[in-house]
């Protein structure tokens, strides 16, 4: 190999490595406690039973501070795990709904921003969504929020989860199209 082409090859390789490196950041996992302490309301008033609560003011400011990142495949995979563990399937199935509304379609009764969904999860909603405040830790709740958004294709598709191991219901999240602008409420 001539000296020029060898240098070109090395330069290309270096460039490729440098370009690929930022991708590692997205999947970097933190194994220590979240740097932000949770909202005091998350602890106070933890309910003895799961009563559907009145609409909350929203904890939208938590989204950025709490480390919410819906571009991370691990976040979405953990959200999918909690979705099964905490019985979301019982009312919402694999996104199609049941006694609860469908989560994979374009309709959002209470809003589709991460803060809206977090409020729905934490404070419940008047028509029967139970309040999980004080039950599901905030970090896990944000992971569920990210996964719920992925059910209708609202997160980057390269981070979305793929086919689950359970009974096949809907096509995998990674194949779901995001809602069209004219569909949004």
């Amino acid at each position: 190999m001539s000296s020029v082409s060898r240098k070109a090859a090395v330069a290309t390789a270096l460039a490729a490595i440098l370009l690929a490196m930022p991708g590692c950041e997205r999947e970097a996992r933190r194994f220590d406690k979240a740097p932000v302490a949770p909202d005091a309301r998350a602890r106070a008033g933890a309910l003895a039973s799961f009563t559907a609560g009145p609409p909350g003011r929203g904890l939208q400011e938590r989204a950025a501070a709490g480390g919410y990142d819906e571009r991370s495949a691990w976040t979405l995979a953990q959200g999918k795990r909690w979705y099964r563990w905490f019985n979301c399937i019982g009312c919402h199935a694999q996104g199609g709904g049941g006694s609860g509304p469908a989560l994979m379609d374009a309709g959002w009764t209470y809003g589709k921003t991460p803060g809206d969904i977090f409020t729905t999860l934490m404070d419940g909603r008047p028509n029967g969504m139970p309040a999980f405040r004080g039950r599901i830790p905030e970090e896990q709740a944000w992971q569920i929020v990210a996964y719920v958004r992925s059910l209708s294709g609202l997160v980057p598709s390269d981070a979305e989860t793929n086919r689950g191991d359970e009974l096949h219901g809907a096509e995998p999240e990674e194949l779901r199209e995001p809602a069209r602008p004219e569909d949004k409420r």
């Binding site: 194994f31 220590d32 406690k33 979240a34 003895a48 563990w85 599901i136 830790p137």
Partner: protein, 315 residues
């Protein structure tokens, strides 16, 4: 002592025996081969030193030697095969009369044990510990919840995989009392190395006592701090994943804690069980077992102390 050669039951004894036979056979063959190699090197060195062009002596004798060595190797290999077949057959022929039936489900990264019984109200669940009676065969049904794990108690038997979507069994018997360690033997994720369980073989009457105790619900806490700890347990996030029989906590995503205080380890062998270790574990399991599915908690110190006090009553 986690030793596959320290067999505590017939299954492990057969495996250990096969291992020793293979070892000594292979040692003998190895010594023979090394000796022959050494002799060949020494001879050729001597021949080359004496006369560079002299032909190799004893061509026919050498051929006989090689042929008989080959024949001997084949015989030994067949012998090993025979030993292996006999061992396998013996492993599958453990008498199973009056076997204790346990269903083990492997999760990332802990073990769920359900002791089955013909009478439904004598069924009980525990986690990360396998207590068995001495002298009675144990049939363990193996299932996995998420990925492939492997069940391995070296002192009692070999490895058997737990594969999601399949149900399989492993049978063994402990012939002497003692404490052993079981491990996960198939890489299953970040904390595969910290997925151990205590295996305790007890004399039959002590086992029966233990089983009867496991069937009881958690006792009512008496100290005010423990009562408060139970309140925190039931109104917080603990009950979402854990179960304590006799309370409204019926989660199944983490180990059953009904008799947690009597276990020797926390977190599937991560640390030894003690109140101080428990406090550290509850506050930040990620520090002790990074990647575990139990989240960190932000508890005021007296809340944490109350929770620990309650969990310590769960003997």
């Amino acid at each position: 002592m986690n030793d596959a050669l320290d067999a505590a039951g017939p299954q492990a004894a057969w495996i250990a025996r096969l291992w020793w036979i293979s070892l000594w056979l292979c040692v003998a063959v190895f010594i023979g081969v090394m000796a022959a190699l050494g002799w060949a090197l020494w001879r050729s060195h001597r021949a080359a030193a004496a006369d560079g062009n002299a032909p190799v002596r004893g061509d026919r004798a050498l051929r006989v030697l090689v042929a008989s060595a080959t024949l001997l190797s084949s015989v030994l290999l067949v012998g090993l095969l025979e030993a292996s077949v006999l061992t396998d057959r013996a492993l599958g022929r453990l008498p199973r009369g009056d076997a204790l039936s346990i269903r083990v489900t492997a999760h990332q990264w802990w073990w769920e044990m359900v002791y089955e019984d013909a009478r439904a109200d004598r069924v009980f669940a525990t986690a990360n510990e396998l207590v068995i009676p001495v002298g009675r065969p144990v049939v363990v049904t193996l299932e996995a919840d998420d990925v492939i794990h492997s069940f391995w108690v070296p002192n009692l038997h070999g490895k058997k995989d737990l594969i999601p979507g399949r149900s399989t069994t492993i049978e063994f018997r402990a012939d002497r009392a003692g404490r052993f360690v079981g491990r996960c033997a198939e890489f299953c994720g970040l904390q595969h190395a910290f997925m151990a369980y205590d295996v305790v073989a007890l004399p039959p009457d002590r086992y029966a006592q233990w089983a009867d105790h496991e069937r009881t619900s958690a006792p009512e806490p008496r100290a005010a701090e423990a009562v408060r700890g139970r309140e925190l347990f039931l109104t917080g996030s603990c009950m979402l994943c854990h179960a304590v029989q006799g309370t409204s906590a019926q989660g199944r995503r983490g180990p059953d804690l009904t008799h947690f205080a009597s276990r020797s380890h926390i977190g599937a062998g991560s640390i030894a069980n003690s109140p101080q270790a428990l406090a550290r574990w509850i506050e930040d399991p990620q520090k002790l077992k990074p990647g575990a599915n139990m989240p960190s908690h932000f508890l005021p110190p007296d809340d944490l102390a109350a929770l620990v006090a309650y969990l310590e009553t769960l003997t």
